[in-house]
């Protein structure tokens, strides 16, 4: 059950490939955004340029910050890479089997969130502090939806292993198709909130909080953090795609299969990020006070999925 060499190789490949592609994802978002503004906009590779540039800049630490502030971008990126080794994205099974439990995934994201928010307080900035508070609050509001929808999917597959869920959905071995679809919808909502895009970009709300936890970062740390956040967006979409739209993912470890799986993921991600691009640029940020209304809707859909599962529709 412990990972062997091919699985480790796959894990390494998947993690580094997603990391390498992450700035492309955020660059694509910027292009989409520009197009929604009828602007020419930057190139697809703009975020690579930004990261390279930021790497050359000086770092300025807030006066009262401690090691949490300094280490956070690296920590968050590391945690996200660990998640990348356990999420079935290119293949139907998680690259590292023992990392593929859905509860583990949820709590690893919580680990990333823990340090991201903590750094907000550590910076001593008023905006970063409020951003940290919002980041966690949104987490609280969205966690029930995500857990319940995943729980339903796991019940349908009979296992909390993400690989088992992906395989079951890919093969159509589901007791209840309706429940699977609804659970997928509810999970998609949760994933959308996790993306941190409008209308749910509470923590980084530029106009309200000057980018919240990012306010005080500069230079290489800012580069890593932006990169990590892009990686997170890639990953959560990968999570959704891997579990609920696993079609095209490789069932084995063959090089061809993995390559095709990666290609399939790229296509699915392109479509999803295009939709996200349109959605996020066509709405206003939800008034923070009203966020629970939205999250209750998410819980409602997930609960409905659960009811469907119970009655076996």
């Amino acid at each position: 059950m412990l990972p062997d060499l091919p699985h480790l190789a796959l894990a390494g490949f998947q993690a580094t490939a997603l990391l390498a592609a992450a700035p492309l994802v955020s660059g694509f978002a910027r292009v989409m955004r520009a197009k929604m503004h009828n602007r020419q906009g930057p190139g697809l590779l703009q975020d690579y340029r930004d990261i390279v540039k930021l790497m050359q800049r000086q770092e300025v630490w807030p006066p009262d910050s401690g090691w949490v502030f300094k280490a956070m971008p690296m920590l968050v990126m590391a945690v996200l890479l660990v998640i990348a080794t356990g999420t079935p994205i290119f293949t139907l099974a998680p690259p590292i089997h023992v990392m593929g439990d859905l509860v583990l995934s949820i709590y690893l994201y919580a680990l990333a969130r823990f340090f991201l928010s903590l750094s907000g307080i550590d910076s001593g900035s008023s905006f970063a502090g409020i951003g940290a508070s919002r980041e966690l609050t949104v987490g609280v509001l969205v966690e029930p939806t995500m857990l319940l929808s995943l729980f339903v999917a796991a019940l349908l597959a009979g296992s909390t292993d993400e690989g088992a869920i992906a395989t079951a959905i890919a093969n159509g071995h589901m007791q209840s198709a309706g429940a699977a679809v609804l659970a997928g919808l509810a999970f998609a909502f949760g994933v959308y909130v996790e993306l941190g895009k409008l209308p749910y970009d509470m923590a980084e709300a530029e106009q309200e909080l000057q980018e919240g936890p990012l306010t005080e970062y500069s230079g290489p740390s800012l580069a890593l953090l932006k990169w990590a956040l892009a990686l997170k967006q890639t990953l959560v979409v990968g999570w959704f795609v891997g579990l609920f739209l696993p079609f095209g993912a490789s069932a084995d470890l063959s090089i061809d299969g993995v390559f095709n799986g990666a290609l399939a993921f790229a296509l699915k991600a392109l479509v999803i990020f295009a939709i996200v691009g349109v959605l996020s640029n066509a709405v206003a940020r939800v008034r923070f006070r009203f966020t629970p209304r939205h999250s209750w809707a998410g819980v409602g859909v997930a609960s409905l999925a659960f009811v469907f599962y119970l009655v076996g529709v």
Binding site: K35, M36, N38, R39, Q40, V278, A282, V283
Partner: protein, 181 residues
Amino acid sequence: MFKLLKEIFRTGQATALYPFAPPQTIKDSRGKPEHDPVKCIACAACTGACPANALSMKTDVAAGTRTWAINYGQCVFCGRCQEVCPTNAIALTTEFELAVARKDDLITRATFKLAYCRTCGAAFSTLKEVDYVARLLGALAETPKEAERIRAHAEICPACKRRLDVEEMAQANPVRQMECL
């Protein structure tokens, strides 16, 4: 949301090509004031009218020069200089590419020679101004002698002119002067 998408598709890309294509300028828009030093008589009408003090005039008596200068960094592009210039020496263009890295590049100067009063010898104006005034007024003269008189008069500084006027008046009409006294 669909209304927005419709609007986006209707509009297409709105971005202008500049700087990869020539700029779109609007006729009569107020850009860089272009000074033609050849046409300038250094009369200081513009420097007096400039609300931002972007235009200045400095007289260096020792060097015998008067230097006109415009600081594009201080200019507010109102066009008052153009409005008051009697010789059309300064006019606003549509040029807007004025950014510089060195502050001194913002300054354009023109130096003119001073004119000295033919009576007292004091510097009071520039040669070009004296010349221009003389020709302008001279054009009204009906005889060359009159023109010469006008030119000679133009070359006298205001102080001397006042003095001379008083003397002239005193000679021409002593009676009235007496009355005044």
